[in-house]
């Protein structure tokens, strides 16, 4: 098992290199000149072309593409993620500041969607054809098709503006002394993000569970005289679990990538929010780093999923 994990980690390195290269190429092809975002418009207007050229030189924007790529890569290897083009802040610091917020939000959303999605999915499968099942299917459809921003705005209107139970947005304030005060801020965004993910998990759990319920060994379990919970949970769900774990595992990248829409609506100071700002500002070193972070997490998630599947299904062997 351990040697498998190490081998998988090693194969990730060339993959990451290719991805880094693609990201770099992609950003290179963006039409805007990044210099215009480093210097105010009036200043550019007043600058001589030579001065501008000097500036480019200083920022390393003039060297050949491939040189800049390896330069950038070497920096990453040394833990130097470069500097934000908008305000010169080290990207490491930006990410260190934004990541905890995103992880907090995504973790709650993942938790909500896993618990509710799996539970409702099983319920729906066990009671297939009943009104509960139809109601849940309709709710799931609604959850998937109604956009997050709509839900978000409705919730803000009801719980923040009318009822004044929860804050409109943000994450924390200087005067907070306990986590509970901060926790009130995460409730709405986590619920919104959770709902949209719950619907997917629910539909997936339902079909996976239905599949398990139709298998022959479930009839064996019934013929053994086992109680219902053993039949459904220990025999049915235990087998249905594998595909559900795969689905949830592949959601792990949201832990670091964040959700653009939800973070925007609730002014959540996370990675998703930072990403949008960076894209708008052609702050390409930051965009690249966030993309890289997400992709790395995706690769890690696929490894985690493989290891988990092998742990829960004895037929799967890690080769």
């Amino acid at each position: 098992m351990l040697s498998y994990i190490i081998r998988r980690l090693l194969t990730m390195i060339p993959m990451l290199l290719v991805i880094c290269f693609l990201i770099f190429v992609g950003m290179e092809l963006m039409p805007t000149d990044p210099i215009s975002y480093m210097v105010g418009p009036e200043q550019i207007a007043n600058m001589t072309p030579e001065k501008l050229e000097e500036m480019r030189e200083a920022l390393g924007l003039n060297r050949p593409f491939i040189v800049r790529f390896f330069e950038w890569l070497g920096g990453i290897a040394r833990g130097d993620f470069g500097y934000s083009l908008t305000n010169g802040q080290p990207i490491k610091d930006i990410i260190a500041a934004k990541l905890p917020a995103t992880i907090e939000l995504s973790l709650y959303a993942l938790l909500i969607s896993t618990v509710f999605g799996v539970f409702l999915g099983i319920l729906s499968a066990v009671k297939r054809g009943s009104t509960t099942d139809s109601a849940l299917t309709v709710l799931g459809m609604v959850g998937i098709s109604i956009p997050e921003f709509f839900f978000g705005l409705v919730m803000i209107l009801v719980f923040a503006i009318n009822l004044k139970w929860l804050p409109i947005g943000g994450r924390t304030l200087p005067e907070y002394t306990s986590y509970w005060q901060q926790f009130r801020h995460v409730i709405m965004p986590a619920t919104i993000l959770g709902i949209s993910m719950t619907a997917g998990v629910m539909r997936y759990s339902r079909s996976s569970m239905l599949d398990a319920l139709n298998r022959d060994f479930l009839k064996t379990a019934r013929a053994k005289g086992l109680p219902k919970w053993r039949i459904y949970i220990l025999h049915g769900f235990r087998v249905a679990l594998t595909p559900v774990v795969v689905l949830i595992g592949f959601r792990l990248p949201t832990l670091v990538g964040g959700s653009v829409v939800v973070e925007q609506i609730f002014q959540w100071p996370g990675i998703g929010d930072a990403f949008v700002t960076a894209v708008r500002g052609n702050n390409y070193p930051l965009v690249m780093m966030i993309a890289l972070l997400t992709v790395t997490m995706m690769l890690a998630a696929s490894l985690i999923v493989d290891v988990l599947t092998a742990l829960i299904d004895p037929r799967v062997r890690l080769e």
């Binding site: 022959d216 060994f217 009839k219 064996t220 379990a221 013929a223 005289g225 086992l226 235990r238 087998v239």
Partner: protein, 336 residues
């Protein structure tokens, strides 16, 4: 009444309601199982053998209903009418596995792939023996597996079903089924998926169980050869009806139903040499949704008369337990 009778199915009908159509899967089916005896239920695919067996344990799928009839179980002080029992209740759960055990056709899929064989046998033991401990159950599982002829059972008990061969899985299934000393063993084509030598071993095992534990065995098969070797009694089914029923001698030596006769003529019989005439039954089984109005076998029957087109014949007793559903059975018997 015969003291040996442990299970009596009487006039049992089960229908399926799928796609808003009704399929009378079994109709007024009657048979009895006796202690220390093997009852073989034979018939072509789709004739209702599995449905009859599932009904006994109330394991019928949704969308199906027991329309009429009785399933009487005599294994306790008082007879139990299984057809009236709550299919989700505690009583049927005690009976399932504890008193009536079932093994299925395909040992490849009948065991749960994510649990060890030992876990699955212990699970059943623990369910029906409330004061048994986990390690005792595991020890018993090892004993059962080795009694079923599995070598190195103490190691194999910790393996998963996919590490077992098909024959070994079926042995494990039988070990599990016999773990709580059931009074009745329902075996639904237990060897169809296995090769011939393994088949013979499994049948030998079941024959021993019958003798050692005085269990009643209900063996479902479509193999007449198996019937000749193992059965004490035979029920022949066709399109949801038991068309002929009796002791193995009565039914095989003096078949009274044209279908039984045709079935026997369609298989080679060991010891009769290579010159025997083998005749497949002519025609094909009707669509269950578009049944003949009278006797179900009438379109394929050599003896069919006008009367046969009107209604399914009632059960008629020929001698002793031997009974048949045929208007013309006397002629069939005469033709022997």
């Amino acid at each position: 009444m015969n003291q040996d009778i442990i299970l009596e199915v009487k006039d049992l009908s089960v229908s399926f309601y799928t796609d808003n159509r009704k399929n009378n899967a079994i109709r007024n089916v009657s048979f009895v199982a006796q202690r220390g005896k093997t009852l073989c239920i034979v018939g072509e695919s789709g004739c209702g053998k599995s449905v009859s067996a599932s009904a006994i344990l109330r394991l019928l799928p949704e969308l199906s209903r027991i329309e009429n009839g009785e399933i009487k179980y005599y294994g306790r002080e008082e007879p139990i009418n299984i057809e009236k029992v709550d299919p989700d209740g505690d009583l049927i759960r005690e009976i399932r596995g504890g008193e009536i055990a079932m093994i299925f056709q395909d040992p490849m899929t009948a065991l749960n792939p994510v649990y060890t064989v030992g876990y699955q046998i212990s699970e059943m033991l623990l369910e029906h023996n409330k004061d048994m401990k986990k390690d005792e159950a595991m020890k018993k599982s090892v004993e059962l597996l080795s009694a079923m002829g599995i070598p190195q059972a103490d190691q194999r008990v910790n393996e998963y079903p996919h590490q077992f061969s098909g024959g070994m899985r079926q042995r494990a299934m039988i070990a599990m089924a016999m773990s709580c000393n059931p009074k009745i063993l329902l075996a639904d084509e237990p060897t169809t998926a296995l090769d011939v030598t393994v088949q013979a071993q499994i049948f030998e095992l079941m024959d021993n169980l019958k003798k050692d534990y005085d269990a009643a065995i209900v063996l479902i098969t479509h193999d007449m050869g198996v019937v000749t070797e193992l059965a004490d009694n035979v029920s022949v089914m066709y399109m949801g009806y038991v068309v002929e029923d009796g002791t193995v001698d009565e039914v095989l030596r003096t078949p009274a139903h044209p279908y039984t006769k045709a079935l026997l003529a369609s298989i080679p019989i060991l010891g009769r040499g290579r010159n025997q005439k083998i005749e497949p039954i002519r025609g094909s089984t009707p669509d269950p949704f578009n049944r003949p109005p009278g006797c179900q076998f009438e379109p394929r029957c050599d003896y069919a008369t006008e009367k046969c087109r009107e209604a399914m014949p009632e059960r008629e007793f020929i001698s002793g337990e031997h009974n048949v559903r045929c208007y013309c059975y006397k002629e069939v018997l005469k033709d022997e």
